[in-house]
Symmetry: C2
Subunit: 418 residues, 2 copies
């Protein structure tokens, strides 16, 4: 399997951090990982947990509908992996749904649409206190009691939470539900390689061994190449940009099945770096679709953004056109002998050239095809880059304190309701 290639030739790294700083930061990270102190990365070396997950969660595999109750780090990783196998049009025999919100219309739909006899539930919250997940799960439990009956709840529910005392943990204990431990040393947005990301993916048929293998290969490449690695060089550039008038970081894959990946990456980037008045706004985009939506602003709006484009080797792939149609109209001759993949290949290169012509900083990541191996590599490289950028910016990548006030206010307002 081949790792993604990095082209940093037009990233035009502004030298802002002294070279020895990058060297030191990279050395420290590699040392921490080797000592087992960076669990979000080291977990990719685990060789026994996947078999255990498979055995312990097998009871859910009989349900045609599986629902993940969880939000942010408890959903976006698994949801990104699910896109690898999810059909774009008609559903497969087994479907995975992610309920991330507490919109009453959505929750009513959930309880009304999915037949309780045929539905399994995974409730995922690291802290075991997340209000949305607790509320969703409590609604589901009430619904199950009144439909399939209290005694069969444990046949269809799995709880993933850290093994410390919490409302979710106590609830699971009281109802004797099957549980898996959310690793305490791994935060939600870094949890994709743990059971949080891999169990829902495993249940839906994603080759999670390959996801881990891709992550291990990319981690090895970084450890070998150190500060000369593309990941370290990109992190240095992005950290420097964030202090020199750049406000946003656009990530634009030319691949529909990376749509949720860009949302996963958005959380990783925004929560890890958005602190102390620093951080750049992560901007998800999809080529070619967003060429018809955001590109005008990127090219002619403020020059305050840097770009990551992700290219697939789409040339010659996909359906082609009928000679009958092309011959009938000379204005369509540009499509003669071409496929739909040729078109997206030409478009991704054209957009790159337009960004370069405007002297905008662009990094390109390219890969042959979006496999689970490539996805694992993309995800661990995004983590490495984010952690390195944070350390260069002297920010703790693993905290997210700002949203605590909102959680307290939510409970106050609930208490004040009539």
């Amino acid at each position: 399997m081949t790792l993604p290639l990095h082209d940093l030739s037009t990233l035009a790294v502004p030298v802002r951090f002294p070279a020895h700083s990058l060297e030191e930061v990279v050395a420290t990270l590699i040392q921490e990982e080797a000592q087992g102190n960076l669990a979000p990365l080291s977990i990719v070396h685990d060789e026994v947990d996947l078999a255990r997950f498979e055995k312990e969660t097998n009871f859910l595999s009989k349900y045609p509908y599986l629902v993940v109750l969880g939000t942010g780090g408890s959903s976006l990783g698994a949801k990104s992996l699910y896109e690898l196998t999810k059909p774009n049009f008609l559903p497969a025999t087994q479907q995975l749904f992610f309920v991330e919100n507490v919109d009453p219309v959505t929750l009513e739909g959930l309880l009304k649409d999915l037949p309780p006899q045929e539905t399994g539930y995974l409730a995922i919250s690291k802290s075991g206190t997340t209000a949305e997940t607790m509320a969703q799960f409590l609604c589901v439990l009430k619904h199950l009691r009144s439909t399939v009956g209290a005694s069969s709840i444990r046949e269809r529910c799995l709880v993933i939470t850290q093994p410390t005392d919490s409302p979710l943990k106590r609830l699971a204990t009281r109802l004797a539900l099957k549980t898996l431990d959310h690793p305490t040393a791994i935060g939600g947005r870094f949890s994709v390689f743990s059971c949080v990301g891999l169990v829902p993916a495993l249940l839906i048929g994603v080759d999670v061994k390959e996801v881990r293998a891709g992550a291990r290969a990319a981690l090895s490449r970084f450890i070998q190449e150190k500060e000369a690695s593309a990941v370290a060089q990109s992190a240095a550039a992005f950290a420097a940009y964030s202090t020199t008038g750049y406000n946003a970081h656009v990530t634009m894959p030319y691949c529909d099945k990376l749509t949720t990946f860009t949302l996963w990456w958005r959380q990783l980037w925004a929560e890890s770096l958005g602190k102390q008045g620093l951080g750049t706004l992560p901007v998800p985009a999809i080529g070619t679709t967003d060429q018809h939506s955001q590109l005008q602003l990127f090219l002619e709006g403020p020059k305050d953004k840097f770009y990551t484009l992700l290219f697939t080797n789409a040339a010659t792939k996909g359906p082609d056109f009928s000679a009958e149609d092309l011959d009938a109209d000379s204005s369509l001759s540009y499509l003669e002998g071409r496929t739909i993949g040729d078109l997206i290949d030409a478009e991704q290169r054209a957009t790159l050239q337009c960004l370069r012509n405007k002297k905008l900083p662009v990094r390109v990541l390219s890969f042959d095809a979006l496999t689970p191996f490539v996805m694992g590599a993309l995800m661990i490289e995004a983590m490495l880059e984010t952690i390195l950028a944070a350390k260069l910016m002297k920010i703790d990548p693993f905290s997210q304190d700002a949203v605590e006030e909102g959680k307290i206010l939510t409970r106050t307002y609930l208490n004040e309701m009539a």
Copy 2:
């Protein structure tokens, strides 16, 4: 029906444009609309076209699968309206799909998954030259010839394009396909109230008369209140922000069914205002989900964003919890007597308070429930606001020239392929 309410009390408008400038700009816009020179707005007064659309597109209503081939302005409006009726979980009897990209994996899935006998197609491109839409449609035509046969293509295809000579128009003529005219005076991103947005919505059962009625009511309110209207005041604030160090405009509805609306709005805002080095980056978000993704950055990152929150009156709505679970754990007492809707209501107010506590500029739009009427009002107010902001910034809201270079390069690269 009730129009959305605007709360601008914490928008803290920086006075940047002289008051008489706003007054003039509003007066000009109202005059243009009255004279019929602002077709994107005036079209909401049309009283006969909907019945004609219904009659002329009725032949598609027998297909359980309907596919819109189109991108940007040709898809996002109808897609936003479809969300109003689309179930979140299991599909309804008739389904609408939007193919906006030329990813070969997606296109292969389209041709493989959807039974050609049961699928109708709408090809939508204003110019009739959009490479993605042409390529998608040519693939579909080839597929239909080899499955249902050339003679039955016209039974299942509708073309929406402006009535001028173009590859798509010529193709439709040659194959004797049913066509509807894309109004020439309405650009793609402003086309939601024309057949472009309303025909797919109509076919899938959205009450498009109510969409128009909501738009008319909101337009009347604006015309009556003039520069004192919330729309004009917001536009003035947003135009001023864009020249005073604010880089991004976050729009965050607390309503799952506004997810595509935020993407529709993103295109409207980005393409209309992203010119001459100006424009603010539109940032879509969904509450509460993005509280677990982007909020940390909003609260503790750079203070360079302004916010639009959209609140629904969710309190007391949706499923509730079992007393059995709440009584068993005192830490869950904050949910006692509450529903899932109470929770989202408390959360939206808590987030508003957190943003205000940080002295960030916030505008709140609130409505009772997301009906087609409210959606129509939200959409026309977004258009009015965007046009007014552009005029205050001395930008033409209706052009988008920057992406032409990419289109030329795409054809060059296609020609250069082996």
